[in-house]
């Protein structure tokens, strides 16, 4: 979300006057405090006809083939340059639905809050959720709030699940991927992971690295509208980064994937930060980014279309699907050498020197 949007949303949604400054165990008890919290906060700010029913669950009419997705969010710190856990939780599930070729519509929203979370922080998260919902065109239709004892959580965990109807022109399936398909990356890699890392490690760079968290549904639906079934797969390389996702796909389709280091879009300062910390940006998490596998004959046109979208300005064709080295991702380095890009055995750990 842009800075100007953020200031606007703070002004539009001032925090109500409450008789509590922090969230306590009582707010999750189901009693008066819970009702106060929900009335003054959640229900009010996220109000829509389905949520306003306030029943045990939401009533929704399904019109067509539907995608269903869920994700949990436990980022630390909960506020980071470029966003916070609230908008991340909305964009995450919205994007997962979009990767299915669906138009996201209805989301559930569950909080697990550690007692002691400042009400002002919770409010800021709620406001971000509201704006992220508006931006992506989804409604929160059901939810839950639980509070755990201090030390049994990490400020706030959020789970969102969502449904959306599949776009009639969408035919997203890894089975549709063919030899010769081009792989397009929608923007700069590693921004989200490095934004989080720089705050967590207390590292200061010349200018702040911003997370790329954003909703991608409008961008993807527009592409599906124009290129239909020539888009074989869209997927977002979040945890584990681009390298991990490409490996998963190579194994799934039993074909090789060839990528070119020189074509990888990456912001200069993110690249520098990765060098400094001894991390490979290919394995660093992304949020507002997607990979698409598309027919060779429409690749250039799709790239152009994508580059005209605010979420795809830095898009690039980074590689293609090949017959050789099935199940493997092979990278051609800047100097022309080739290496296998494998999955990491675990979390990426910084090197000694």
């Amino acid at each position: 979300m842009y800075q100007s949007d953020k200031i606007k949303m703070q002004l539009q949604c001032p925090m109500p006057k409450l008789d509590f400054d922090v969230i306590t165990l009582g707010h999750g008890s189901g009693g008066i405090l819970t009702n106060k919290l929900l009335d003054s906060g959640v229900f009010n700010i996220l109000s829509n006809p389905i949520l306003d029913e306030r029943h045990d669950g939401a009533f929704i009419n399904l019109e067509s083939k539907t995608a269903f997705s869920t994700d949990s969010f436990l980022v630390s710190p909960i506020f980071f340059p470029g966003g916070n856990i609230g908008e991340l939780a909305i964009n995450g599930t919205v994007n997962d639905l979009a990767m299915c070729g669906a138009i996201p519509k209805h989301l559930s929203l569950s909080f697990i809050i550690e007692e002691g979370l400042k009400m002002s922080e919770f409010w800021e998260i709620l406001v971000s959720i509201k704006f992220a919902c508006e931006k992506s065109g989804v409604q929160i239709v059901t939810g839950d709030t639980k509070v755990v004892e201090k030390g049994k959580g990490d400020k706030i965990f959020i789970n969102t699940s969502g449904i959306g109807s599949i776009h009639p022109k969408a035919n997203i399936n890894a089975k549709n991927i063919n030899i010769g398909d081009k792989i397009i990356l929608s923007g700069n890699i590693a921004s989200h992971g490095m934004a989080i890392m720089s705050v967590r490690e207390g590292l200061e760079f010349e200018s702040q690295i911003q997370s790329d968290t954003i909703n991608l549904n409008h961008t993807i639906i527009n592409l599906i509208e124009k290129f239909g079934s020539d888009i074989h797969l869209v997927t977002d390389p979040t945890r584990g980064g681009v390298a991990t996702v490409l490996n998963e796909i190579a194994k799934q389709i039993n074909l090789g994937i060839e990528i070119f280091q020189k074509d990888f879009p990456i912001e200069q300062q993110v690249a520098s930060a990765c060098e400094l910390l001894g991390l490979d940006p290919l394995y660093v998490a992304n949020e507002g980014l997607f990979l698409s596998f598309v027919s060779e004959n429409i690749a250039e046109n799709l790239l152009q279309e994508l580059q005209n979208d605010e979420n795809g300005i830095n898009a690039k064709i980074i590689g293609s699907v090949v017959k050789n080295h099935p199940k493997q991702v092979v990278l051609e380095s800047n100097i022309g050498g080739k290496r296998v890009v494998s999955m990491l055995p675990g979390e990426q750990l910084p090197r000694i020197c």
Binding site: S333, R351, C353
Partner: protein, 364 residues
């Protein structure tokens, strides 16, 4: 940032490769001593680009690989104590001890923190006066000044709760040990550029002279490594045995005297055990008597029994260039990056991990 692209230029890389091909007339085995160089060779796909006459041998300069098993067990033991915060560089965490790794000890509740600098550990000690803070001070000459400085800082601040578990190894004795091994057939060496940034080049002249091997102090960017290889091959083809400095933009002949002063204020050379290789005389740093209060080994009564290495692991032979990783019976079978039985399968600098990924093996 400068230096991000200048030494990765594809055109220049091509020219170096062509020059290497033009120069080489017979097979040569060249050892890149430092794990950072191994990492660069693998990451940039350089090994495959070299002519078949040139064989690169990944040397023992991988701190993760050569830290003795017993010391890792000690670190794990300390990390399991309730009042201890164990701080470490990231890639030590996955190295297998005799029973578990630090990563597993962390999952079991040990307070283990990944740091980028030992000075952060001093800060943690200041902030946690009721806890013992131990920094797992691993590495070659390159990391020694910062580790020593942390001791000096803690001493100045009169901190009673900071100590280091030191396992410092030195490059020149390791090169000698490799050369002196009867089975070793290394023709020339790329010395570790950053080690020489600290220590200078003087230690390498007697080695090159006595053993008749070319030694080229080399950097870590792809063009550095390619130029270093070319310089070694030129010497080999001309039957020369000089010490040359490819990394002159960083390495001065005398090294960094200030850093050396800090090292020798805190450390003294001692015999050192290298995992997989054994004891090498005068090949490590121990903490001097005057800083003994900061020596975790002396400070804590850590009695753990000596555990045997996995007998299947031939890491010593691999690091000396006598065997290739795929000659190990467990390579890719029991020993994989997710379940390493030896340390060189852990780090991206380790020879076995490098070969594993390179050989295109896929873990299910």
């Amino acid at each position: 940032m400068k230096y991000m692209s200048e030494y990765r230029d594809p055109e220049l890389a091509k020219q170096y490769l062509e020059e290497i091909k033009r120069t080489v007339t017979k097979p040569w085995s060249i050892m890149e001593v430092c794990g950072g160089q191994t990492h660069s060779l693998v990451k940039n796909g350089i090994i495959e680009m070299l002519p078949k006459e040139v064989t690169m041998i990944h040397g023992p300069g991988c701190p993760v690989c050569v830290t003795p098993l017993r010391l890792i067990d000690k670190a794990i033991h300390l990390a399991q104590q309730k009042n201890v915060i164990l701080c470490s560089f990231g890639d030590m965490l996955r190295v297998p001890g005799s029973e578990k790794s630090l990563l597993e000890a962390k999952a079991e509740g040990g307070d283990i923190r990944i740091l980028y600098s030992p000075l952060e550990a001093v800060k943690i000690a200041e902030e946690n006066p009721n806890k013992e803070v131990v920094f797992f001070a691993v590495g070659f000459e390159t990391t020694a000044p910062a580790n020593a400085l942390s001791v000096i800082h803690a001493h100045r601040k009169n901190l009673k709760n900071y100590s280091i578990l030191a396992s410092h190894v030195l490059v020149p004795p390791a090169i000698k040990a490799v050369i002196n091994d009867d089975e070793s057939k290394i023709d020339g060496f790329l010395a570790a550029g950053h080690v020489c940034t600290i220590m200078g080049n003087s230690e390498y002249y007697p080695i090159a002279n006595k053993h008749n091997v070319p030694i080229v102090v080399t950097g870590f960017e792809p063009l550095d490594v390619l130029q270093g290889i070319l310089m070694v091959i030129r010497q080999l083809e001309n039957k020369e045995n000089k010490v040359e400095n490819q990394y002159a933009r960083i390495v001065r002949e005398e090294g960094n005297p200030n850093a050396q002063q800090i090292i020798f204020d805190v450390f003294q050379t001692q015999n050192q055990t290298w995992r997989g290789i054994g004891e090498i005389p005068e090949s490590g740093y121990g903490i001097k008597e005057k800083y003994k209060d900061f020596d975790a080994i002396k400070k804590f009564d850590i009695t753990i029994k000596e555990a045997p290495e996995n007998p299947d692991c031939i890491s010593g032979l691999i690091m000396k260039g006598i065997k290739k990783p795929f000659e190990c019976v467990q390579f890719g079978k029991k020993c994989k990056p997710t379940s390493p039985i030896g340390a060189p399968m852990v780090s991206s600098e380790g020879a076995c991990a490098a070969y594993y990924h390179f050989s295109g093996l896929i873990e299910a």
